[in-house]
Amino acid sequence: MKVKVLFFAGLREQLGTPGEEIELPGGVTTVGGLRQFLSEKGNSWKSALAEGKLVRMAVNQDMVQPGAPIKAGDEVAFFPPVTGG
């Protein structure tokens, strides 16, 4: 299945991309699983998304926990803890 992945702020800069459409392997069914899958794409991906890094996640613009399910066509965003206000 295909999902749209977005990155913001420091994470976007570290990865050098604002996001992309990606085709997921069958085993990836949660946002945490997607993070794991992306972290295996290369060195900068690993250092940005590896476990232990503070990364927040949103599915279809709702902040979620790593166990949240994802389905085809979803917009999944990864970003650092927010610092507005």
Partner: protein
């Protein structure tokens, strides 16, 4: 309710006036955040930002008697002294207005997808999230603080 995420500045007194018109409004509490010391660029997540703020305001409206509310948050390049954010809450009495205003600000700090990048003379750096902001939002969990 008005929620605006915009690059441009805002006028506090004009915004307060807009939510003070109803005869039953007896209190308007407002908060303005200002850029301190260092120029910065604010990035946000268009679409999610507005819906996250809307959800925070709805949560506040469920806890206190909020008659009207305006939240304006700027993005883009900002200079020291520039206004960043406005939260203004109209209510019948000050207790509800103060509490809802503070609640919205605390939640906005931890839930609305904004990121600040500071431009220091030696280079630019993303601002790190602060644990004290999580604690400020966390204190609203559990029994609702009653407005007096």
């Amino acid at each position: 309710m008005k929620i605006s995420v915009q690059p441009g500045d805002f006028d506090l007194s004009a915004e307060v006036k807009k939510i003070s018109g109803e005869k039953t409004v007896g209190a308007v509490a407002s908060f303005v955040g200002v850029v301190r010391e260092v120029p910065m660029t604010l990035e946000h997540y268009p679409g999610m930002t507005e819906s996250a703020i809307r959800r925070i305001v709805e949560e506040a409206s469920g806890r206190w008697k909020v008659m009207d509310c305006t939240v304006i948050h700027r993005y883009g390049a900002l200079q020291p002294g520039d206004q960043i954010v406005l939260v203004a809450v109209a209510s019948a009495h000050r207790g509800d207005a103060f509490a809802a205003c503070e609640f919205i600000m605390d939640y906005l700090k931890t839930q609305a997808p904004f990121w600040k990048k500071e431009h220091h003379p030696g280079g630019a750096a993303w601002v790190e999230a602060r644990a004290s902001d999580d604690q400020a939002a966390g204190r609203w969990q559990g029994p609702t603080r009653k407005a007096s």
